[in-house]
Symmetry: C2
């Protein structure tokens, strides 16, 4: 601490980039110089940070001269080409894309779970996928106390995870349907895929492209990233990822089987009440449970609907909700930057 840093934000005009700037401002992160970068297309955009106006510049290798921390969120191909250039110039890259997540020399970090992995970095630190982050933050306190064998998750994901234009499509399509006008889906479920489907008043069981094994890339991200972050290569993990007509806030129905079978619902609630970054919202008598509409703009992971499985003594069901642009992206990235400072790694 005590030293103002030169921070670069790559993808400053995007949905996550905007949240990164807001989070840096909210956290009063000590910045001496701020460089805002984007693709050529968005360069020239004016952005306000702490009452000061900045002009977003096109990201090129030379943009990273003198930068201490570069927060990347401009797509995998931008990270692939420019993150190494930033590292070459002395920056630590915190990358919000999937480009380096499964690289064995790149730590994949959720500070509440594996902050210590930051010590082994080689210049790039990967920020996990949004849906992975909130799940591991919720189950890590339980794993620590009771061990963990198996995870089965079904997600309820918001469109903003696919960027600003996806959110725009949701609203314009919703409006068209309410007005009985024809719709022409062009973004959802995956902009770069062959077919596009109605997202308004619908559920699309595809996030990211399909892999050869029938799982989508989003599902494989949740499976592989969870094992890596928790250092449990043998952990059983399965995921079904679904896109819904919600702007922001991912929800997850999570089933876990623990090593031990003596945990009670009250034990789990107590653990989550004390867990960092987690807010327990669980009181059926008062109809208290997490919902996406309530989590927007908040940094925590919200957990509720905690139930013991009726058949297996080591089984529990949870409902996990978080702002996918904050803990799922911008806040986790800034939190990694804060951890780097705390550990004197920057």
């Amino acid at each position: 601490m005590g030293r103002g840093l030169h921070v670069a934000v790559v993808g400053a005009t995007g949905a996550v980039g905007q949240q990164m700037l807001e989070t840096l401002e909210d956290r009063n992160f000590e910045i001496e110089t701020l460089t805002l970068l984007s693709s050529k297309r968005s360069a020239g955009t004016k952005v306000t940070f702490k009452d000061e106006e900045y002009t977003v510049q096109e990201a090129v290798p030379e943009s990273f001269e003198g930068v201490h921390i570069a927060l990347f969120s401009a797509g995998g191909s931008v990270s692939q080409s420019l993150a190494p250039e930033a590292v070459k110039r002395g920056a630590i890259v915190i990358d919000n894309t999937s480009a380096f997540r499964m690289d064995e020399n790149t730590p994949l970090v959720v500070p509440e779970v594996n902050e210590a992995d930051l010590h082994q970095h080689n210049g790039i630190i990967a920020n996990p996928n949004c849906s992975t982050i909130q799940m591991v933050a919720a189950i890590e306190p339980i794993r620590k106390a009771y061990g963990l064998k198996k995870v089965i998750v079904s997600t309820y994901q918001a469109v903003s995870g696919a960027g600003n234009e996806a959110a725009k499509e949701l609203y314009s399509q919703t409006k068209a349907i309410l007005n009985n006008e024809p719709i022409e889906p062009s973004i959802m479920p995956v902009k770069g895929d062959k077919k596009h489907y109605q997202i308004a008043f619908n559920a699309i069981p595809q996030i990211d492209k399909f892999q050869d094994n029938g799982y989508t890339f989003e599902e494989m991200k949740m499976i592989n990233e969870t094992k890596k972050i928790m250092h449990m290569p043998k952990l059983e993990v399965a995921a079904t990822c679904v896109r819904l007509p919600i702007e922001t806030g991912h929800s997850e129905s999570v089933y876990i089987e623990l090593d031990r079978d003596d945990a009670t619902v009250e034990d789990i609630k107590q653990l989550l009440k004390e867990a960092p970054g987690v807010t327990l919202q669980d009181d059926p008598a008062e109809q208290l449970y997490p919902m996406p509409a309530d989590c927007v703009g908040k940094r925590d992971v919200f957990v509720g609907r905690i139930r013991k499985d009726l058949d297996r003594a080591n089984g529990f069901h949870l409902w996990v909700v978080s702002d996918n642009l904050l803990k799922g992206a911008a806040w986790n990235s800034v939190q990694i930057a804060e951890s780097l400072q705390k550990l004197n790694l920057v």
Copy 2:
């Protein structure tokens, strides 16, 4: 067959009642006399059936004189008081409420799964919960071939399951949010519960009221009804039920563990392709999978996203979608009536 029946529809002005009339018309169900009944409040409403106008009458015990089949869908308390009166007068009641489902003398029937249970009826036949019906129709062909140990389901349920006024609330609330007007939720998640929440652009993890064990009544319905319909009191079943901003079409992310561990994805696909009442929609290369927007107005249960669990050889994941007002309610009820005719039970 060959004999025109006197059919009564109780709850004829409701969301399901309307679908029952449409289904009876679509199926060209042989009706000699049609009696349309409702609460006192809705009595007097005019309803058209096969180009003929009917006036809906208040349901009273005497309404059932001479009725052969009475389709009930007017809430549990109406069924509780009037179904026995109908039976007393010689009618067979097909009840779409939860009033008699778990009664041990009442068969609970999904014709594709347990049509033979109709032989043991005592005047009342219960139609299962919407979310249960589509799930058991999808997994029964798999169970028959490979046995079944465990089911874990997370649902993505449409608002029309809560009636016409819930659908109205979704649309008026959505409109208000798009116009930046304040909203006042008054129906969702459960009209008769204490608190009401925004359903537009949100996900509410509560359907029906909470039970003492922390599960909702909807979740317990799925658990208990599945065991009863499949005649498997020891089957492991767990459910998490979630309401979403979708008018019609329930989706379900279903994980199953089979007795045998030698089934392949191709085997499961072949079984479902041949299964009655099921349409297989599963081709990742063509982004083909079931979605609620595509299932509306169709009678089948649509299954896709079939994947083998990556850790357990007997584990499979499915995505199951159906029109909750048709196979989930009206069509299954009419289908029971058709089965009764076919089996010469009416």
